[in-house]
């Protein structure tokens, strides 16, 4: 699907307009990507992706594992070299200006990058020196980061003795030590319990509000995605939609009804012929998008009650958006099953 047809005109006016305004006034957007493709040998991980992210935006890359979001993360974070297409991050060409870009870029990886055998403070000092920060500035920045992330009391503890949530905070402190303008995070809430996840997301919002840091995160976690200003949905290496979460949900026609039946295919045909309603079979579950879903639930139970095991009904979630866009279910990753 071409990018232009995927973006409903006017659906995401605020951020899209901000990107255009910035381009017009000469302020470079945080991220400008055009025709980006990436292959791992024979396998195409990204296929002609184009989009822009405004400064100060919280932008989520949503998609199932294998959708291409981690590859996009690796490209933006300068971890892998560019192959095809063009990308400017904070105005720096991703092909030629990576060292200059790295000074302004903070990166949080999905897998821990802290050294468990070093203390929290030592990890921060090490990180600072890698970015050329030393002496009194290093001490001041470390102290501030430890305070902001509530790690001051644990500064002298070996990182391997910390809980998962605290380790995650050390990762964040590390990535923010050199005051980056853009923070890129790969599945930031992996391994966090719901409370810790909420705190983590609150901190990111604060960071944007107070310091204007642009935040780009990859996620397969719906709660995380809902907190973003805009979401880019990646499916099989392509960007299938880009819009604020509410607009994406509005694209689903009304309510979402899921019907669990013993013989779903038979029931689908009966619903089509007798009710003139299109149901889509996704992973053995019949999905129907209807305005006034409660009426449909009543009717379908009246007519086919014997064949139905259960029916659920609700407002569309981003998961429904994903099914709506791709006709496939969004497979939960290990973090979500935990």
């Amino acid at each position: 699907m071409a990018l232009t047809s995927a973006v409903t005109p006017g659906a995401d006016l605020s951020s899209q307009a901000r990107v255009e305004e910035m381009q017009a006034t000469g302020v470079t957007p945080a991220v400008e990507i055009a025709g980006l493709s990436f292959d791992y040998g024979e396998r195409r991980a990204l296929n002609g992706v184009s989009f822009a992210i405004a400064r100060g935006e919280i932008f989520g890359l949503l998609g199932p594992n294998g959708g291409g979001k981690t590859t996009l993360f690796k490209l933006i974070s300068t971890l892998v070299p560019m192959q095809q297409g063009d990308a400017r991050i904070l105005g720096f060409d991703l092909r030629s200006d990576t060292i200059a870009l790295r000074r302004r870029l903070g990166v949080v990886f999905q897998h821990p990058s802290v050294d468990g055998k070093l203390t929290v403070a030592e990890n921060l000092a090490h990180q600072g020196r890698l970015y050329g920060i030393s002496g009194s500035r290093l001490r001041a920045r470390s102290t501030l980061m430890l305070e902001q992330l509530g790690l001051s009391a644990r500064a002298g503890d070996l990182v391997e003795t910390l809980s998962g949530g605290l380790k995650r905070r050390v990762e964040l402190a590390k990535s923010l030590l050199h005051e980056p303008e853009l923070l890129v995070l790969d599945e930031p809430s992996t391994g966090l319990d719901p409370t810790a996840r909420r705190e983590f997301l609150n901190y990111l919002s604060d960071l944007r509000d107070r310091q204007g840091v642009t935040i780009v995160l990859t996620t397969h976690h719906m709660e995380e995605a809902e907190r973003c200003d805009r979401i880019g949905v990646l499916h099989e290496g392509k960007l299938v939609a880009i819009a604020p979460p509410a607009d994406l949900k509005a694209r689903v026609g009304g309510d979402v009804v899921a019907i669990y039946a013993r013989a779903p295919e038979e029931l689908r045909e009966k619903i089509a012929t007798q009710m003139r309603v299109t149901a889509v079979l996704v992973d053995g579950i019949l999905r129907v998008e209807r305005p006034r879903g409660q009426d449909f639930v009543r009717d379908v139970v009246d007519m086919f009650g014997d064949e139905i095991e259960s029916v659920t009904f609700g407002k569309p979630t981003l998961e429904d958006v994903f099914v709506h866009l791709t006709g496939q279910r969004f497979h939960a990753g290990p973090a979500e099953q935990a």
Partner: protein, 261 residues
């Protein structure tokens, strides 16, 4: 301090800090060659005198510099294993996205590994009187400097492999296949002069032979007459230095080409 110096320095400091917190590594790397030396040297001393060994020297003494190099070898291997672990466990990710060149990363790692290999070998050096070698302060410092050069070169070989390989098992296999033979063929176990022609030439082509020769000569300064036909000290030191520079360039090139994941 320059930024590259600060960056390499922090990588060095981290290696040292980690090492000091894993004390079994310190002890293991030093004790293993010591036990080998004592057992082999003591066992072979009475009955074994390889051809080409200088007059007035017993095998215990002959093996001594060889086992100093073995200490360097073991500790350099251990130090570079941490590079494989850093890649696997994720620590290296954040180094790779920092504004630092791959050559600087390798320099930091190499200096760390060199220090970790060098310090235990210096402790080994203190045991020289046990081998019947009485070192002047000057000779000891000279020997220690040569050990530093050898340590750097061996660490760089380890890093070249570590940046290529993804598992520590594979690393062990390759290290044993490459480094142990290089050590055996460096004149650590037997003098060049006594070896068959083919082996003699292999030994002469082995760059470590010259580091070993330089160390041997530094330990026996004043007794050079006993040394047989070792290459001259100037040539040995020069080749040892070239060896260190070349292995570093090789490690830096491998790191530059290594994919990040």
């Amino acid at each position: 301090m320059s930024e590259a110096g600060l960056q390499a320095g922090t990588l060095w400091l981290r290696e040292i800090t980690r090492f000091c917190r894993q004390r079994s590594r310190v002890i293991g790397s030093f004790l293993q060659p010591l036990v080998f030396w004592v057992l082999l040297g003591a066992g072979l001393k009475a009955s074994f005198k390889p051809a080409g060994m200088p007059a007035g020297m017993d095998y215990f003494q002959y093996l001594y510099p060889g086992f100093i190099v073995l200490v360097l070898l073991f500790t350099a291997i251990f130090a570079t294993i941490s590079t494989v672990e850093d890649r696997r466990e994720g620590f290296l990710q954040s180094v790779l996205v920092a504004p630092i060149s791959r050559a600087t990363i390798v320099m930091g790692q190499a200096l760390g590994g060199t220090t970790l290999a060098w310090v235990p070998s210096c402790i080994f050096l203190i045991l020289a009187p046990l081998a019947g070698i009485h070192l002047s302060v000057g000779a000891a410092i000279f020997a220690a400097l040569i050990m530093l050069i050898i340590a750097f070169a061996l660490t760089c070989i380890g890093l070249t492999i570590a940046w290529k390989i993804e598992s520590t098992q594979g690393f062990h296999a390759i290290m044993n296949l490459i480094l142990i033979p290089v050590w055996l063929l460096s004149g650590a176990f037997w003098p060049i002069d006594g070896a068959p022609v083919l082996l003699r030439w292999t030994m002469r082509l082995n760059p470590l032979t010259y580091g070993m020769a330089a160390l041997r000569e530094s330990l026996y300064t004043g007794n050079r007459g006993e040394m047989g036909s070792l290459p001259s000290i100037a040539l040995s030191v020069a080749i040892a230095i070239v060896f260190a520079v070349v292995t570093f360039a090789l490690a830096a090139r491998t790191a530059r080409r290594a994919a990040a994941y």
